[in-house]
Symmetry: C2
Subunit: 350 residues, 2 copies
């Protein structure tokens, strides 16, 4: 693991597991549980940027008072969780005010309307909290090259493969196996550590990503099935149930639109588990009708998800690797242990 | 590496590198060079099934007379190269006659019209040459499950990710990072070794695939840039030049049709490097016009390939990892060495 990472986040253990900042779903409870287990948990963007301050405040409280927190809080002057923002929809002023107040150890920036927004946000965040590290998520070689030309270099780059759940590159994405090494080559003259994301849900994927050159791995979908995640039971059950992500998930804007979410830059689209809304759209049902049925399903509680459901179920193509809901700490530790075993086994076999 | 593989192909060294059976391009010279270097080289399907016998005869001669061949030929009663067939287009009778005569150590079956063709071919091949191992290439979990129900179990299964070049799954493919572990789980109760393919072009990908659970790795595109490959210089130059496979390659049937190749089962489509034929199709040029320009380009020699070219340039999304033409033996050895280093480094880092 890159030494910069170890020195910045002294509580982390190896291999470096990151809890991705899933919008709303990655709350303070999940983020602190991941960090406490030796990973780095990110709080996701809020429904509104205003919500982030409350999440950071809660994380701050959790770090101070929860068992085991002494290690975490005494070793680091910053808040030992990160926080993510969607640049196209989040408010920089509100975000930087919260960052200045709570000083999270890392801020994860994603999905600008224009590339130079990364610079604007990075500069403002570094002014607000100089020791906070800037993480930037990309999914293409072109974005990597743009980062190399940027005025404000990120401290960490997250490389997201096409396997990922939630929002990713709409059309120019690619599987990590081919994408990651090419981006790593393009950035090899920098000392910026790369984190792999997308389709990784167990120790095999973590060990594989490290072989590709990653300094750590971010997981989103795997943490959808963590007890601490801010998610409906129906959604979580569906993540555990679903298999064969290659065909049971797809990229579509439909669920964004059904939820009333519009405005994502067109470079992005989300991967979601397919259910009746998508299938009936394919069969030709009108958006108006789908929307009406969707809105009724929101009142059905946990029955709104699943093969007969109609609600958005953002998840990655690795969903078939997830078989149970566990505590976040167990996910981190089990994945780490499995990754060590896999890497050792591969290394001794050859 | 699975012990069955080592005992069947006693000349192979670890990690197990396989030269994929690329149609026409993987000829006897390439296949024997890969096997001689400690891998397993496959001869690709011929333009006609009849061509395979001549290729096998030449491989047989090369194994006997070439330097270093003593190790290869004395250790194994079968021909130490494999041969591939496209089931939808190849003739089983002609194929099995050649297999009976030349006894290749392995036969790689791909792209049936119907699933039961795997059984028909496997039975006939096992009758013709009982010690020849049956390899079957799949790209989906569903195909894996079908193999488990088949009357004739394959000896080896190749799992091809969506990153692969040439023909792969048209619509239900997925990146290896998510696909491979899920298929491995579905087949874990069998002792069938799995080979990973698709987007792997260097030691990083090989080490990563082993961590995912592969017993070895098949590479196609990387061997397009081998000196021994039966390929035009213009094509090969383009493989070396091209980068950013996520956007410089695409899946399209256009080049098949321009070449007059029709009849592939619709589950499959090929990944190819984009050039003027595809770009002008996107702009609305008619097939007739594209075909005329394509046919003229076939007379332009090596200028028919490249960004200004019009000819089919099948290649995988890992094309940006390939920077030079090398001898096949150097590719095998360099990749093996790099893979060992990467796996060791990942294992000691965590």
């Amino acid at each position: 693991m890159a030494k910069t990472l170890l020195s910045r986040y002294p509580w982390i253990s190896s291999p470096f597991i990151v809890g991705a900042p899933m919008r709303v779903m990655s709350g303070p409870e999940l983020a602190t549980a991941v960090s406490r287990a030796g990973g780095l948990g990110f709080i996701g963007p809020g429904a509104k940027t205003q919500d982030t301050a409350a999440d950071l405040a809660e994380a701050s409280t959790l770090v101070q008072k929860a068992p085991g927190s002494s290690t975490l809080s005494s070793t680091h002057p910053l808040l030992p969780v990160g926080v993510g923002f969607q640049l196209w929809s989040d408010d920089l002023h509100i975000a930087s005010t919260a960052i200045e107040k709570f000083r999270p150890c890392a801020v994860w920036l994603y999905a600008p309307r224009q590339n130079d927004e990364f610079d604007t946000w990075s500069r403002r965040i570094r002014d607000a909290s100089p020791e906070t590290q800037i993480w930037i998520q990309i999914g293409t070689l072109e974005e990597a090259k743009n980062l190399l030309k940027a005025a404000e270099r990120p401290d960490v780059v997250v490389v997201q493969g096409a396997e990922s759940g939630g929002h990713g590159r709409a059309k120019d994405g690619m599987g990590l196996m081919a994408l990651f090494p090419e981006i790593a080559d393009a950035m090899s003259h920098t000392s910026i550590p790369l984190i792999a994301a997308g389709g990784i849900a167990d120790g095999r994927g973590v060990a594989a990503a490290l072989c590709l050159g990653a300094s750590g791995v971010a997981m989103g979908t795997r943490f959808l099935a963590a007890r601490e995640t801010r998610i409906s039971r129906g959604y979580q059950d569906e993540v555990v149930r679903a298999s064969n992500g290659a065909v049971s998930t797809t990229r579509t804007l439909l669920y964004n639109h059904l939820r009333g979410t519009r405005g994502w830059p067109e470079a992005y689209s989300p991967r979601t588990i397919i259910n009746k809304s998508f299938l009936e759209q394919q069969e030709g049902k009108s958006f108006e009708e789908l929307k009406k049925l969707h809105d009724e399903a929101t009142k059905a509680g946990d029955l709104g998800w699943g093969p007969q459901g109609r609600l958005a179920t953002y998840a990655g193509a690795g969903v078939g690797l997830i078989h149970e809901v566990k505590e976040a700490a167990d996910i981190v530790c089990d994945v780490q242990q499995d990754a060590r075993r896999r890497a050792l086994s591969a290394s001794t076999a050859i």
